[in-house]
């Protein structure tokens, strides 16, 4: 296991300790496996919480910060946190204006967040709204949106909802904008190697030496095909064409794009993909605003990349460009 760790059982907790030790001005850990913003809450501001399995930094915990999220419930590697932790996180961030639960569409997380919302309403009288981002086009057809998984595109929802909350929009408005951003983003990924789950000490699946898998999920969920590795331009074209088929862009559209590494794939190769993406977008007359290239949603040391495209309008563009600050992203 080519990982830097102590006891695999402590992987998540030691990671959180290090995160808070390194950035005490950004993150606080008020309770076991709960991260919130450091400092005082802003009274009357809508809180935004997320949560999910570990192993995806900066997702989920990393996006707690100014203009972004208020809290995160942290599960084990690739495992949902409990509803109780989520409820605790909701309580921790509530500043009297209600809380939006905004996370990726995975069965366990959805059930637990729903349960948590029920709990804080039953016990604490905190108003909540919920939205599970489902941007992974490879995981289900557009007609079965509720089966689509949430992947890297969710960071656009974090950013836009976070900016709205920072401007003191109310819960309904923050939830509307989160849903709008989420509805406007589509993603598609591919992988070349899986990653190692610390407690298992080995990879969840194996991909042949000269093989890649298109559409593979960030936990190794099966994709649309597995076969010989294609050239970078062909990979980008297939991802782009799939997204275009799902939600076509045309002349005059404005978008933000995210070319994301799943972990091991280096920046160099993301830029090789971006180069082709820029050609494809300019061919159809689409303008790019604030492109993101880097490691924004990972699966530890998985090799692979994903492409997310967010369609913008004035409202979304304005919120996307608003100031934000966490240890992994500054706008």
């Amino acid at each position: 296991m080519k990982k830097i760790l102590n006891d695999p059982q402590n992987y998540v907790d030691e990671m959180l300790d290090g995160l808070v030790a390194a950035h005490p001005e950004i993150y606080a850990k008020p309770a076991h496996r709960i991260i919130t913003r450091a400092g005082e809450k802003t009274k009357g501001k809508v809180g935004i919480v997320t949560g999910g399995g570990s192993g995806h930094l900066p997702v989920f915990t990393g996006y707690v910060g100014t203009g972004l999220l208020d809290g995160c419930a942290i599960g084990n590697v690739f495992a949902s946190p409990s509803a109780d932790q989520m409820a605790e996180t909701i309580r921790a961030v509530d500043a009297g204006a209600g809380v939006l639960c905004l996370y990726g569409n995975y069965g366990g997380d959805v059930m637990n967040f729903d349960m948590a919302a029920e709990m804080v309403s039953f016990e604490d009288d905190i108003r909540t709204a919920s939205h599970a981002v489902s941007d992974d086009v490879a995981s289900a057809p557009r007609g079965e949106m509720e089966k689509r998984r949430g992947v890297a595109g969710m960071i656009y929802a974090f950013k836009i909802a976070g900016a709205a909350a920072e401007r003191m929009a109310d819960l309904d408005e923050v939830a509307r904008l989160a849903r709008k951003a989420s509805g406007n983003v589509v993603s598609m990924g591919m992988a070349m190697t899986p990653c190692i789950i610390p407690q298992l000490g080995k990879a969840s699946s194996v991909i042949g030496d000269d093989e890649m898998e298109m559409g593979m999920g960030i936990h190794g969920e099966p994709g649309t095909w597995r076969g010989p590795i294609k050239p970078a331009d062909d990979i980008l074209d297939e991802m782009f064409d799939t997204l275009q088929a799902d939600r076509p862009l045309g002349k005059g559209d404005r978008v933000s794009v995210l070319v994301n590494s799943l972990g091991a794939t280096p920046h160099e190769e993301l830029y090789i993909l971006y180069r082709r993406l820029a050609v494809r977008l300019s061919e159809i007359g689409v303008d790019v605003v604030m492109p993101l290239v880097g490691r924004y949603a990972t699966s530890m040391e998985m090799t692979g990349a994903s492409l997310s495209i967010l369609r913008l309008d004035d409202e979304l563009e304005d919120l996307l460009a608003a100031p934000a600050n966490c240890a992994f992203w500054r706008v």
């Binding site: 599960g75 949902s80 409990s82 109780d84 932790q85 366990g108 637990n112 349960m115 039953f122």
Partner: protein
């Protein structure tokens, strides 16, 4: 005989013991189609509940169980069980006892809440098919052999569904492979109901 908080506590102890004995069995069943943690979820969830000092208010008691169960496990089955317990908590709020004849109704409410939580439907080869079979069997049951009826309904469900593909939860990904394998959640319901006797 009416059921009070004391009966609930005794029942939890019996389930916890039986679930402990079946821990490995359920983990192995889950490992075939999922992540192999179901035995842990069921055994530790009920073991923690059995240690609770339950309120006399049976509604409150079910709430305490729900909360405890999902603290221990955040896997799907744990959250679904907690959801079912929560449904019972709401139905029994401010009462100190309930009758055997209410059980079918409570199970039906749990089933519906769990369907909503899991965003799944009956017939998808999950624990909910077992629960649904129990609801119908108990509604038809007049002899008073409630426990035997429930165990039989749960067991029959496993058999009825084994040759079908899983259509919900993690196992859905392995739909083809799942044909011929019993659904782990349906097996867990058998274990839990056996423990209740």
């Amino acid at each position: 005989m009416e059921i009070t908080s004391n009966e609930l506590k005794a029942a939890l102890a019996r389930i916890a013991e039986h679930a402990g004995e079946n821990r490995e069995f359920l983990c192995q069943a889950d490992a075939q189609l999922g992540d192999g943690d179901l035995g842990i979820t069921v055994a530790e969830g009920f073991s923690a509940c059995a240690k609770l000092d339950l309120s006399d208010d049976v509604g409150r008691a079910f709430f305490e169980m729900a909360r405890t169960f999902q603290q221990v496990s955040s896997s799907s089955f744990g959250t679904l069980v907690a959801t079912g317990l929560m449904a019972a908590a709401k139905a029994l709020k401010d009462r100190t006892e309930f009758g055997p004849d209410e059980i079918a109704g409570l199970l039906a409410q749990a089933r519906d809440a769990m369907l909503a939580r899991g965003k799944s439907s009956l017939g998808e080869k999950t624990v909910l098919d077992g629960l649904d079979a129990q609801v119908h069997a108990l509604e038809a049951e007049r002899s008073g052999a409630l426990m035997e009826t429930a165990v039989t309904a749960a067991r029959d469900t496993v058999e009825k569904f084994t040759q079908r593909p899983n259509q919900a939860g993690r196992a859905r990904i392995f739909a083809e492979k799942s044909v011929g394998l019993p659904d782990p959640g349906q097996l867990a319901l058998v274990v839990i109901t056996e423990g209740l006797r």
